[in-house]
Amino acid sequence: MSTQTTASVIHDIGYKPYTGPRQGRAHIVRALYIHSVRGIFGLGRGPKAKIVPWFVIAVMLVPAALNVYMSSTNKALVMSYGVMGYHLMLFAVLFVAIAAPELVSRDLRHHTLPLYFSRPLRRGDYPLAKMLALFSSLLLVELLPVLVTYVGQIASATSGHEIWLDSRAAFPAVFVAFAQSALLSLISLLIASTTGRRVIATGAIAILFLATTAISGVLEDAVGTTYVSHSVSCVEPTVNINTANGNVYGFGGGQSGPPTGGVSQLCPGVSNENLTGVNGQPDPNKPGYADLTVTYQTPVYSMIAKAGGMIDPVNVVEGTKIWVFDSTDDLIPNPSPIGPLYAAELALLVVVASGGMFLRYRKVSVS
């Protein structure tokens, strides 16, 4: 159809049927996944949507960057692998508290779901894409400090053995990243899928994780913890290599031995916390060295303290790690002998949260 005037011609090019390819369900789920991941990081959205995710990424990179610097100068890591997941947990919670409502509450708020379910997607595809999107995004964010540190360590490693040791130390951190990402993302999505109001979802997610952390912290610290005193002897050099000063820690000058902060560097297995005393005497048999007697306390946790971690998803991951890798960083009480319970709870939470998501979307109406 065209309308002709003396001055100009308007062409209505009309309707052109689409004859190109049409993709199947698998492609559509993938497209929804990619769309969701982009939404999480605020890609293709305004600057406001980018603030939180990129702030969290920046925070994750700070200890990683310091770690790279430390390993390049052969010093101990600022944040060791073992504590990364635990100490950066607050930022992971912040990340999911913003991302999960963005993924699912928005569609509830605007009643967009009928538009999805009147398309080839099946009921399970929507929650599947959303869960995979948040899980993989959080995993990426949590793996960032681990991997950056690892690359830094490898780059400044001097022997194959060092690389091996480093890989072994990094592996539990990778496990924590996986488990924590799964747990935090699934639980927060389940919470967010119950309300169309983003603020409420964000608040509920933050409160859940922070409150459980606080409660389990109280149980671990305050309830039923007793201490046992130990005394160890170790030998430390008193000669400063650089200055050839033979009395590094000033024996006899009122202070007896090294500062408490340095003890863990000198005596293997002793932590700086809970030190009760350090005593040093020049070693009569070994010139240039001193004998130290360090007394410290180790906590003995009651069963309440050991089980306290099971309240908090982050501690469930930590406890499972301790049980699986038999490694503790003294962040939470070693759950032994109930480590398997932690692992079982981790598995159960993942199954329940993801199953809950599928159930949640099974009965969504299209009209």
Partner: protein, 328 residues
């Protein structure tokens, strides 16, 4: 199948056309409610109005057509695909416009329609192009980069239509597309649907509880009530003006009727109050009516070359078949 009471004005749908929707003895029972009861309908290409009051079973029927509900019994196929087994393929080729608001406020129309194009199975680039096309067809070309939250109700309805239209569906299911629109917006929306159904060659099913509205654009009508088929009719013959002239006067209907009959005109009673239907024969009917009204000094409010009003069609069922035929 429904049988036409008067072959001149109503025709049963002919079977020699390709059918878009074919439902046979469709029954849907929930625990204690029968939403659809032995419903048999055939929808042909063109625009079909699906009329029924709220709760008549329209939504249930739409869900079954999309393969989202499995009917208790009966057969149903959409675009030649069995809705029980191939819902996924059907949903890829059917555009659905829900009744209620379903648009996010904080994305642009283009982004939204593009995303839903991808959800219909279009590759990324094609989705972008098709979204632009769909928005152009609904008349939102200029506004396509604006956030949907800034749109008026009429524009939002167009976005809803565009998301159903993206990716060239074989069938459009529109649920109350004129909901919440002012008269001008309603006319524009109906004109748009009419254009899609005729120029674009897409089969359209418009569900509505307002018969008077959709009869203007439909080729066929299907009325359901209480999950049962009330009536199905082709409106082909009615798109032309009927040989009836509607005369509406504020008072003196009976007087006028007597006078016109006296003059040798065929006058039919009307269901609408104060209205008469006068058969347009070769006689100078208009002149006779004008003179009669003038002579009787009646307040004439309407003189209209009559297209058939479809709500009367459906009203006949209650009035009774004989009365209906007499009136036609």
């Amino acid at each position: 199948m429904w049988r036409a009471p008067h072959p001149g004005y109503l025709q049963g749908v002919s079977d020699n056309e390709r059918s878009i929707i074919e439902a046979t003895a469709l029954t849907m029972r929930y625990r204690d409610v029968t939403a659809l009861d032995d419903l048999t309908i055939t929808v042909r290409p063109g625009i079909t109005g699906l009329v029924g009051a709220n709760g008549a079973g329209k939504s249930t029927l739409i869900k079954i057509l999309l393969g989202l509900l499995t009917p208790t019994s009966g057969r149903v196929s959409v675009l030649g695909l069995d809705a029980r087994e191939r819902g996924e393929e059907i949903r890829a080729r059917v555009g659905y416009m829900p009744e209620h608001d379903c648009l996010p406020a904080d994305v642009t129309a283009t982004e939204f329609v593009t995303h839903l194009g991808r959800m219909s199975g279009l590759p990324a680039t094609a989705a972008k192009e098709q979204a632009a096309e769909a928005l152009r067809h609904v008349g939102l070309h200029e506004e396509r980069y604006r956030q949907i939250g800034t749109f008026s109700t009429g524009m939002k309805q167009r976005v809803k239509l565009a998301q159903a239209l993206v990716g060239d569906p074989g069938l459009l299911l529109l649920d109350e597309p004129t909901n919440g629109l002012d008269p001008a917006g309603r006319d524009a929306m109906l004109a748009l649907i009419h254009r899609i159904g005729t120029e674009f060659g897409i089969a359209v099913v418009v569900a509505s509880h307002l018969l008077s509205e959709i009869e203007r654009i439909c080729d066929h009508l299907v009325a359901i009530e209480g999950g049962k088929l009330l009536r199905a009719a082709s409106l082909d013959s009615m798109t032309q003006a009927l040989p009836w002239l509607a005369v509406e006067v504020d008072e003196g209907t009976e007087l006028l009727r007597a006078r016109l009959t006296e003059q040798g005109l065929t006058v039919s009673p009307q269901l609408v109050r104060r209205q008469l239907l006068v058969r347009l024969d070769e006689e100078p009917v208009f002149d006779v009516v004008r003179d009669a009204v003038a002579d009787l000094e009646l307040p004439l409010t309407r003189l209209e070359h009559r297209r058939h009003h479809v709500d009367e069609l459906f009203a006949q069922v209650e009035v009774g078949a004989s009365a209906g035929e007499a009136q036609l």
